[in-house]
Symmetry: C2
């Protein structure tokens, strides 16, 4: 497979983890988001949205949207199952994933941050109030659900990694990048650290990809 991604992209990170967990061979081309390469005509032909990830599985049109790609990999590839079989558990794992991938992450992507600064003439630091608010809202809801719901186990849904964990970790890693305080979210932290101790998560980590700042 061939993925267009970026070291920093939370959505590409989720897909990278799934590819590694399932043992799918892939290569990744890094699109320079800071240089605006996602808006170049040649990339817009791959994904008219101008967003990563885009994944090619052989010939055929590119697959886009990280959650759709995760479902595609689940339906077409072997390796560990990343969604539980039982429908209610499955729905819970999906709803936790979507709490991140629908209701949190899309609010702080570069195109939103740029729009807010330009349209409302906000200096970066004031725009970042919105980013931190978005993280805090998402993390607080995750913490309430994960600490209060019977379905939580070693991971978000029971004792097996699911799409929910891939999304949780992609948000967690962002707290470091954006300077978000994490002390109020101990259950989120516990699960994130459990995941990041696994090789697939560690190897897929943004800071271990080409182009990432050296820490």
């Amino acid at each position: 497979m061939h993925m267009y991604g970026n070291w920093r992209s939370a959505a590409a990170f989720r897909v990278r983890i799934a590819l590694k967990l399932k043992g799918v061979a892939y290569e990744e081309t890094f699109i320079d988001l800071d240089a605006g390469d996602q808006h170049a005509p040649e990339f817009r032909r791959i994904n008219p949205q101008g967003a990563v990830p885009a994944l090619f599985d052989g010939a055929g049109p590119p697959l886009t949207q990280s959650l759709a790609i995760l479902d595609y990999l689940e339906e077409t590839h072997g390796g560990p199952k990343l969604l539980p079989e039982e429908p209610r558990a499955r729905a819970r794992a999906r709803s936790l994933a979507q709490l991140v991938a629908c209701d949190t992450h899309p609010l702080y992507v570069p195109r939103v941050r740029t729009y807010l600064m330009q349209a409302y003439d906000l200096p970066k630091e004031r725009m970042m109030d919105f980013v931190r608010h978005v993280f805090e809202t998402g993390l607080a809801t995750l913490e309430t659900r994960l600490s209060g719901e019977a379905g939580t186990g070693r991971f978000c849904q029971g004792d097996a990694v699911s799409h929910a964990d891939l999304c949780l970790v992609s948000l967690w890693v962002g707290t470091g990048i954006f300077g978000v305080e994490t002390a109020p979210y101990p259950t989120v932290a516990r699960i994130a650290k459990t995941c990041l101790a696994l090789p697939a998560f560690a190897e897929a980590h943004p800071l271990r990809q080409p182009g990432a700042p050296v820490t």
Copy 2:
């Protein structure tokens, strides 16, 4: 089934269409979003996110997040299939659905609009520039994909209704509510109108629900 929804909620609209298409008996309790009832402690116990829809299927914990609910209904109920069988077509339908449900709709929900007005001291009309920008970005990407990709048929994915259409229509109806110009999106318009001519979509329409303004 028992759904907590609201006449205006795009996410509740999607689920309502699926319930009607699949012929699932349900009743809906309307949460007054203008009065802030989604933040009341009794509703936060149902959904800690303070968002609709929340769906009860018999006893057992509530199901949340519209896309997770759509997949749950697909996996547990009969009636017409709302995702194609073939994995690439399925992934395409999902990616179009997520273009709306992840990358567009969550950016203009009430809690974001309220935050922007309060944090940046924006009058409503200036905040609405952001809402229109979000609609226009989502609609333009949908139009480019739907008009250019071979998978498009009578509906978003081929000639059968899928999750993509439920999401497309939920965005389309919002253009009326928020005063977004629709002329640049003829393919989106064609599919939305084809959907809204079907009884399940028409009966699920926000303006036909209790609490909606009389037009």
